[in-house]
Symmetry: C2
């Protein structure tokens, strides 16, 4: 058995028991079809297969590469690419997978039909200024999709401006407003899929037929602020390489971290700043060169995407290594 103290650093640690606890908590709250796990959060087919094992076998992806990897791994029962794409022929070429693609314009409908995709969702703007058509135009796009030979399974609308609202009452209220827009669109579109949501709204979004949560499996310091029943299950593991008066430096920098939500955190320490391959921090208790530290990323998705593998641990033993095999485009 390898101890975590023998791992080269920086490394991503994934606690197998805590992961399982998160997966089961979500399966209890949203069993079977009620959850469509978003693989963009972990980009790891080995982790996705654990999600399937607790009943969440229909997945959501953000990139064509994620769709291809999931299909290759035998996890293609029902894959949704919750994003618009123009080179849809790569999706049309997927074997042994049921592929559904988001569309929000005549151009993306044409790309889907020309690329050999068979099923789509109409992507609706529910308040986040990103992809998605206005609710009032969804019906007309559905007609266009059907007349182009596509099956329209329903609607999708991500309330990304809501999932991070700290106060629960406000979050629920904003979520309801967004979902009213999505249901308005669904009345014109038809189909039985209403796909929406994320980890921040997994239990207050009562209008979607399926929730697209991903971060709940691993968690990060941004989602930890929302007091959800999911626990931090992954960390960066780094070695202290230099100690000075008042601060220490470990060998994990911003190239190993998603930095868009700001600096990561370290228990019993104050993080000063990250460089490419360093983190400078002030520990409450003195550290020595060679000590190891656990670093909690501020944003799970882009952090995992920086790494080639996850070291799966139980306590202080490394029990497995899972490739982060859905990276890139």
């Amino acid at each position: 058995m390898t101890s975590i103290y023998d791992l080269p650093t920086p490394a991503l640690l994934l606690d197998a028991d805590l992961l399982q606890q998160n997966l089961q908590a979500m399966a209890a709250a949203l069993p079977g079809k009620r959850l469509r796990p978003h693989v963009k959060a972990h980009k790891c087919t080995a982790l996705a297969s654990r999600q399937a094992a607790v009943g969440h076998a229909r997945f959501c992806c953000a990139t064509i590469r994620e769709m291809e990897g999931m299909a290759s791994a035998g996890l293609g029962d029902d894959l949704l690419l919750a994003n618009e794409v123009l080179d849809a022929h790569r999706l049309g070429a997927l074997r042994d997978a049921r592929v559904t693609l988001a569309v929000d314009s005549p151009e993306t409908i044409r790309a889907a039909a020309d690329g050999g995709v068979r099923e789509v969702l109409i992507d609706v703007n529910v308040g986040l200024p990103r992809c998605g058509c206005p609710p009032s135009k969804a019906g007309r796009l559905a007609d266009l999709a059907r007349s182009s030979g596509l099956e329209v399974r329903g609607v999708m609308g991500y309330e990304g401006h809501v999932v991070g609202v700290a106060e629960r009452g406000q979050r629920e209220e904003a979520c309801e407003k967004s979902m009213q827009l999505l249901l308005e669109a669904q009345r014109d579109v038809g189909g039985d899929v209403v796909s929406a949501g994320g980890t921040g709204t997994y239990d207050c979004n009562r209008w979607a037929s399926e929730i697209q949560a991903g971060s709940y499996a691993l968690m990060d310091s941004a989602y930890a602020k929302l007091e959800l029943p999911f626990v931090q299950a992954f960390w960066l593991w780094a070695s202290v390489i230099s100690v000075s008066e008042g601060y220490a430096v470990a060998d994990c920098g911003l190239k190993a971290l998603g930095m868009d939500h700001g600096n990561p955190s370290i228990d019993a320490a104050s993080v000063w700043f990250c460089s490419d391959e360093h983190i400078t921090f002030a520990p409450e208790q003195p550290l020595k060169v060679g000590d190891r530290v656990r670093i909690t990323p501020a944003h799970v998705d882009p952090t995992v995407a920086c790494h080639e593998r996850l070291a799966v641990i139980s306590g202080e033993e490394v029990v497995d290594t899972w490739p982060v095999d859905l990276r890139g485009w």
Copy 2:
């Protein structure tokens, strides 16, 4: 020939002519041994070989993986790992490479000696709170290194708190202060190497024997503010996938970008925000779904590290593809 309009997106574009212009401008300013290019900025041995071709054949690395990759690529004439490491046996195992390692403590000196490394630089803190010993302790560490059987080539001290100072006079003054500390340490340490500097101080640091610049080859929007004679030579290339009233969305998000210096920029457009796989921006002139946009990253180093390859272009033709082959740890 492949047109850039046929590339799958997101993709990194590297303009071969502008790269060459930057490499030659640097070779004119700091010929031969005066520059030790930092490969952390591009993590690409094909690009490093172009730096060697203009006379810059001694390189600087930030990770053991970068050292291993450079040695494998035949670029190991004189490699400096400008960072402290504890698992130095990977460096000691390198064949066909001259390896020099930064050390700043008894522990890192012992790791170097035990790992089979033969040459070191004493890393000195010149004002940036990161690695490096106090100048007053450098001589004693050099003695310890020599008594451990290591060759001490000189000193290293990175004025990272200075390289981004916008006003040139202030930058020069702060640089001189830092370098006085480094020269003070060198008097006690001995050796002929005084390694320091970066793209922001490449021409005002007159005290270092060699400058560790990397960003000058590709540049980014943060360094562009310093009015250096280097031009932007790489961009992210993205496709517009959705257009709404007042804004557009392209398929390049924060997983394709280093975000620690903030949002990237787009000519003739205002960038609103980045999501994992999207950038939402307001273009001055209307765009259509399928249009392509060039995005200028705010920080070159972590942006390149997100990608598997660079599409080398001349005008609008793709003339080569270079693997980003020094990623990971």
